[in-house]
């Protein structure tokens, strides 16, 4: 009896200990990230303290500018303009690139014909595409977003083409025998097989796209983070440049954490549960 109670207690204690260690296990990566970022800020603060200069403002100064810009509404407006261009260019690039990539992966004749075009576009400098887009289509929003998308599309095509080549013919045959409709085929056979490639193209895409969006804004738009950075570059206000940059990086980090990663976990749930 007593032995029974004792073992019961130790079992519940063991369970509590496991729960605690699980909680620590979950909190540890977050704590590590936070400590790492704080360390970087500290290093930056020390450097700025040792060599005081307008070219390297301390973190607190940047923070102050950030709050001021946010309070005036400028920060929110320009961030929103940039974010909308990033999202628009991302959607255009992913959709167009995926469709072309899958087609090239499925039809090798088309692939061998268009491959030189692809190599050409892959090696076309972003700056050239942007300048030509502005010259040919004017300083418009569509030209800006189109130019960014064209810079990204070849990368998406290459990745998705790889994915389409790796499609397992057995699943397609199963779908033929059981007469799956075209919609079911895309949703249940094609998309799940392409998902890892889509995720890879998407991940490398979003980082590239936002960097190109800044260049587009600098060259031919009158708002957005890129425009603001150009403005503050002309008056040599490094604190404001850093404030805008870090604010946008923070937004991209939040998107990654709260949108991209949960979506990816959902898409690969069947993988994580494998026995």
């Amino acid at each position: 009896m007593t032995a029974g109670f004792g073992s019961g207690k130790s079992v519940s204690a063991g369970r509590r200990a496991r729960a605690v260690s699980r909680a620590i296990g979950a909190a540890l990566p977050a704590a590590t990230t936070l400590a790492s970022l704080l360390g970087l800020c500290l290093l930056w603060g020390l450097a700025a303290g040792m060599w005081p200069s307008r070219a390297l403002p301390p973190p607190l100064e940047v923070w102050r500018v950030l709050l001021k810009e946010a309070a005036s509404g400028d920060l929110g407006y320009h961030l929103a303009m940039t974010l909308w261009r990033v999202v628009a260019a991302y959607l255009v690039a992913m959709i167009v690139g995926s469709v072309i990539g899958v087609l090239l992966g499925r039809y090798w004749r088309a692939d061998s014909f268009f491959n030189p075009w692809l190599v050409l576009f892959l090696n076309l400098p972003a700056l050239v595409v942007i300048v030509l887009a502005y010259i040919w289509f004017g300083l418009t929003e569509a030209a800006a977003i189109g130019a960014v998308a064209i810079n990204k599309i070849p990368n998406v095509i290459v990745t998705m083409r790889e994915g389409a080549r790796a499609l397992d013919p057995r699943y397609a045959e199963m779908a033929t025998v059981y007469r799956l409709g075209p919609l079911d085929h895309v949703r249940h056979i094609l998309m799940p097989q392409l998902q890892p490639y889509f995720a890879a193209a998407s991940r490398s895409g979003i980082a590239l796209i936002w960097k190109i969006v800044l260049v587009v804004e600098l060259l031919g738009r009158s708002n957005g983070v890129g425009f603001q950075i150009y403005l503050y570059f002309q008056i040599f206000d490094v604190a404001a440049i850093l404030a805008y940059t870090l604010a946008f990086v923070a937004i991209m980090l939040l998107i990654e954490l709260f949108l991209v990663q949960p979506l990816e976990r959902h898409a690969t749930r069947w993988r994580s549960r494998s026995a």
């Binding site: 057995r170 059981y178 069947w270 494998s274 026995a275």
Partner: protein
């Protein structure tokens, strides 16, 4: 339950099927292959490895259209064909139940599958993903998918290979149980004589490549009487009739 495939038998008449190898050499896989499977009958296509059994099945499934000749599929049931492949070919990103329902026509998508899952012992595994199943269970899910579609004809391509003998045997008996619940015209490809003798009404014996029909072996013995000694007798009968086959 009404018998399936009332209208017509399966008629196969393939005059020639050739493959071109990588070096450009033409290989004749099938030549003058013709046979019939009566409606409601379970037939086996028995032949040595590489004789063109799977090729025949791929033609009948509509997966290979590069051949000369013709075939006629039976009608009835949902007027569909169903297949159990050599591997289960379940979608790893869909649960067992989703895999089964996906194969169903829009009209049948929401039908009650409880009994089918019950017979196949899959009731507690409907919400699992295929990677969580053993190979034996995955095969059962593939059988469930095939029978759920209420097909006019069922094709099975060596569905019990790469299983240990005990699991394979249990699955053969399960196959007979679900088949008996809704006798469907079925054609199974195998190179395992005992398996064919256990399951089939008639065995269509094929020659080595290019495959031709050597003859038909009528098993004739009621299925529930086919125990081990009865099978031994059938095997020796078979060898008397077809001394050169398999």
């Amino acid at each position: 339950m009404q018998p399936a495939g009332v209208a017509a038998p399966l008629k196969v008449d393939i005059s020639e099927k050739t493959f071109r190898s990588a070096e450009g050499v033409t290989i004749v896989a099938l030549r003058g292959l013709s046979f019939e499977v009566r409606q409601g009958e379970f037939a086996c296509l028995l032949g040595p490895s590489g004789c063109g059994k799977t090729t025949t099945l791929r033609i009948l499934l509509g997966l290979d259209r590069q051949f000369s000749g013709s075939y006629q599929l039976p009608e009835g049931g949902s007027n569909r064909v169903a297949a159990v492949f050599q591997e289960p070919v379940l979608l790893p990103w869909r649960t067992v139940e989703q895999n089964v329902r996906l194969a169903l026509s829009a009209r049948l998508r929401d039908k009650d599958l409880d009994r089918l899952f019950e017979i196949l012992g899959l009731s507690s595994m409907r919400s699992l993903y295929p990677s969580e199943l053993s190979l034996g269970l995955a095969r059962r899910a593939a059988l469930a998918r095939a029978f759920a579609t209420e097909p006019a004809i069922l094709f099975l391509d060596e569905p019990f290979t790469s299983l240990d003998e005990r699991t394979a045997d249990r699955l053969r008996r399960l196959l007979m149980t679900v088949w008996a619940a809704r006798p469907t015209t079925a054609l199974m490809v195998t190179h395992n004589l005992r398996e064919a003798l256990l399951l089939a009404d008639r065995i269509i014996v094929l020659s080595p490549r290019p495959a031709q029909v050597l003859g038909i072996f009528d098993v004739g013995l009621s299925r529930h009487l086919r125990d081990a000694p009865a099978l031994d007798n059938l095997v020796s009968d078979f060898h008397k009739t077809f001394p050169d086959a398999v």
